[in-house]
Amino acid sequence: MFTENDVKQVLVIGIAGGLAQLLSKKLNTRFPNAKITGVDSRTTPKPKDIQNLSCLTLKYSRTEFEKLFRKNKFDVVFHLGRLSHAQPILPMNLAQKIEFTLVETQKLFDICKTFQVKKIIFLSSFHVYGANADNPVFLTEDAPLRASIDFGNLREVVEIDFTATNWMWKYQNEIQMNVFRPCNIIGHHIKNAVTTYLTTKYSPYPIDYNPSFQFIHEDDMANILVRAILEVPTGVYNLAPDEFISIRRALQICKNGGPPVPLFLATAFASLLKKWYSALPEYFLEYLKYPCLIDNQLIKTHLKGPLFFHTTEETLKAL
């Protein structure tokens, strides 16, 4: 573990995202003397309320990253940049997506090692476990990653998790790294599939399945990421509060339940549904049918004290 004084320069990849901006704000409060650099392939105006943050628009390539790392001596790197399924920004097919995400991520990790970064924090997702009828409650970190068995477009999510964890264990003696698999992150700044589903007026209201969901507030998520720098040792961690809620109840709280839909029919017509309701990725229907609840015991062994300051109901009401 390194100390507070070692955190002098931080790189946040994917700064255009809501969580990354929130994280930068919290980093600025927690480490007021640290210089924060945010990069994204999208143009991002610098948020006015974060003093030590500088934002750069950067093509995610080895050359560009190497240039950046030569100019700066980063101590901590947050990798929050992923291709969104809910709001695709780049017209890519699956093969291109996998190529882009995997190759570029691998290169980035190698650069971090070359330039002696002290810690990498990589954000994966609970989606990697897959929503399966035979999922136990709760899924621990060593559960098999089965998301891509039924849905090819989740292959990139699973493979990037594999790449990150493999790389982490290979170089565990040289560089500290955390791979986080958070449950559904929701909040005002977040634009992911589940937030879109919950906040859209005509979201299908499932009548034949009602699995439990876990939601983490964006604020709590950002706080955990900041604390992870100094408090969480190398490893893979699930992130979820103790609370869970059925998806129907969540929709009722958000007051956005649309037409009642039997999901077994919706699954059969998923491709048609996608045309009508493009914000809903096909795989998401599976998460509305079967539970994918994750276990949070491991992270609690390292992060003592309260972790979740927002109840699920509060979080959903505020959406």
Partner: protein
């Protein structure tokens, strides 16, 4: 005639006071939104209010030796019979209606059930949980009483010539009980095999349809959904003495050590079944004069 019908309906209606008492106690133990498997006490009540007349008047369930049950969690094991898991529902109902304090028995269910639309949700709401080792251990951690059928599908989906003959017991349940130091409570269910007295099985059709079994009876599938209606065979549930395993036995002990205890339990249940068959009631509720010979 109308008076008779009114009398019958009055009797079929469950006693709301009794249900109020049961659920007032259950609500103390279960927070409405604290069950990750989806138990919903409101729906549980609705469901068991519907089951009660069937339990009382259709299957005329008798719950023998409830005095063996103490106020603590158990891992219940029982023989599985009757082609569809009505026996599990009747055991759940017995622990709700016949024993104080009432408890929600968490039945472990087969993997294909949660996949079924509507059905998957309903079985979760009444407290059933996917038969997965991790789920069972979690439930035992939470001091819940869990119901396991160690014969699995091979037990429930038996052809007529194997009725009341216990099939191979899996050993996982015993390892879990040993790991969590929970006593095993053996039950014998007599009468459920006669729900569908003549059954043949077609494993190839079951495999093609993605089902664990495909039973064919004189009424199913010929009469469609109506053919599923079970015959009103009276059911006797015998509660055995809890099985206290040696404290020195570890959950990861070699198979032969575990198997020894599982075989003992299997023999205990088979003995209880054989004893129960001597007192078995026929469809009219009378004890059968000719003892059935176990085939």
């Amino acid at each position: 005639m109308l008076d008779q019908l009114k009398f019958l309906l009055e009797h079929l209606k469950p006693n709301p006071k009794k249900f109020d008492e049961i659920y007032a106690e259950l609500h103390q133990g279960y927070h409405p939104r604290k069950d990750p498997w989806g138990l919903n006490l409101k729906k549980h009540r609705t469901c068991f209010e519907l089951i009660w007349p069937l339990y009382q008047y259709y299957f005329r369930v008798k719950f023998h030796h409830p005095e063996h049950i103490e106020n603590k969690p158990y891992l219940i094991i029982a023989n599985h019979s009757g082609q569809i898991a009505i026996d599990a529902l009747l055991v759940m109902a017995a622990f709700l209606f016949e024993k104080h304090p009432p408890r929600v028995v968490r039945a472990m269910i087969d993997r294909f059930l949660p996949k079924l639309p509507f059905v998957g949700e309903l079985v979760s709401e009444i407290g059933s949980v996917l038969g997965e080792r991790q789920n069972c251990l979690h439930l035992l951690d939470h001091k819940e009483t869990v119901l396991v059928f160690p014969e699995g599908v091979t037990g429930i989906a038996k052809p007529s010539n194997k009725f009341y003959t216990l099939q191979k017991f899996t050993t996982g349940f015993f390892r879990m009980a040993a790991q969590k130091e929970v006593e095993v409570l053996p039950l014998a269910i007599v009468g459920a095999e006669e729900f569908y007295p003549h059954v043949a099985h077609f494993p190839k059709i079951a495999k093609a349809l993605g089902l664990p079994a495909f039973p064919v009876t004189p009424t199913f599938p010929w009469l469609g959904p109506l053919g599923i209606l079970p015959l009103p065979s009276p059911v006797d549930i015998y509660v055995g003495k809890p099985y206290a395993f040696p404290k020195t036995l570890k959950s990861d002990a070699p198979d032969k050590d575990i198997q020894k205890h599982v075989t003992k339990l299997k023999k205990q249940i088979q003995k209880m079944i054989d004893e129960g068959l001597k007192q078995k009631r026929n469809y009219f509720g009378e004890v059968e004069r000719v003892h059935r010979k176990r085939r």
